[in-house]
Amino acid sequence: MDLFGDIASFLLIAQEGGGEEDGGGNFLVSPNVGLMIWTLLAFGVTLYLLNKLAFPRIAEALDRRRRAIDESIDQAERTKREADELLEEYRARLREAREQAEDIVVRARRAADALADQSKAAANRQREELMAATRREIEAETRRALDEIRKEVANLTVAATEKVTRKSLTPDDHRRLIEEALGEVDFSALAGDGDGSPRAGERESR
């Protein structure tokens, strides 16, 4: 650089001005051109090496790191976003699953209730049917028993009348006698007894 030449010539003049350097501490402040040139050399070499080799590498490494950090941050943000989405999705799914589960439970409970009601109704119906059948049987039995008693009473009445009167009776007599006898006998108690009382029904069912 011609600049350095300028500086050197400037300094040469300066040195000639304050040249006598041996008295006291003058040499401390009087410029020394040779030393200046050495300084420029040392500084120039340092500047060259740092500028050409050191600084670009450091800058590049720092840039690279900054880029890496930027990327890492971006990546982290992306990952976080994804994770958030995933979490949201899982939450939604969980909510859905819970709703479904509740639904299932409700339905199952309802089904169970329905089933219970149904079976209770069926049991009731069956019991009622059974009781009705029993009642019917008892009535029929009672009727049959009453008929037999009626027949027996009629026969007894005829036989007793024949024995008393020593004569056989005409069919008209028979009818009259029977009707009379039957009119006298009170069947209401029997009929009331056999008219589907729980006792009779119970005994029947056994």
Binding site: S30, P31, W38, A42, F43, T46, L47, R64
Partner: protein, 319 residues
Amino acid sequence: MTTARATEERPEQGPAERGGLSLKAKLAIALGVYLLVAIVLYAIFGSDGRNEEFQPQDEFKLDPWIELKIGSLDLSFNKAVLYLLIACALTAGTMLLISKRMQQRPNRTQTIIEGAYDLTYNNIAKGNMPEDAAAKWFPFVATLFFFIWFSNMIGYLPLPVNDHETVDIVGIEFPAFALYAATANLSIPLVLTLTVFFLYQAEGIRRHGLVKYFKGWLPAGVSGAAAVPIFVIEVISQFVRIISLSVRLFANILAGHLLILFMGGGLAVLLGIAALGWITLPVAIAFFIFEVGLIATLQAFIFATLTSIYFGEATAGGH
């Protein structure tokens, strides 16, 4: 400067540990012992009278080690040149070594260098110059910072460079250890300052053109007859920068070294009172820590920052 005396006395320094005493009592005892040693030393050695031989400034004198003359130009190799070369080697070596092994996950040294790089780039260069000027002049400013910093720092390492005093080891005369700093010699800060001065003027002229650049020296709004004296003042202030920038660095480092020299035994030798060396030693240690811990870095920072500011002014084109 000679540190032999300082290192000799160092082991005596520091009072013995005493357990079970309050801090105040410990300090009082330490101070008592310290003064007692001083009195005892004075009693033993007394005063030898003023030492007329010892010239403290000779510590900074540059005697040519290897004579090298080109015409009237004296390029002799001396102590300062050695320090410059060490500074050059250390600056370039450290930066190259670190830059070659830049790790994605930095270790401690790399972190420090990266911090310094960041300081020079963002704080010193970008903080004071326009973006494009910062990009262009950052290497220059950063090199100034690192070069001056290393120059200052090696100035506090005792190196065997004393060519007045020698130490006899197994019959061979070795130069005594001494503290010296290249930046404590005016020539070195001055030539760096001149380089800065010419470069930023050239950059200003290149950017704005000669007329516009010099017009930029005038504060905004100044015109007419008032412009002439103000321009003269501005010109003077520009040239005063050469002195202020160089002398600030030179004087700070020289003053620090002189203080350490005098307090670390120089005063005792000069006055011929050995006990004084014992008294002034703690002051020397305090100044040493102050210089290494603050001044060396601060002055490098100020030099680089002012350089940036000058470049910033020149490139931004005006005050």
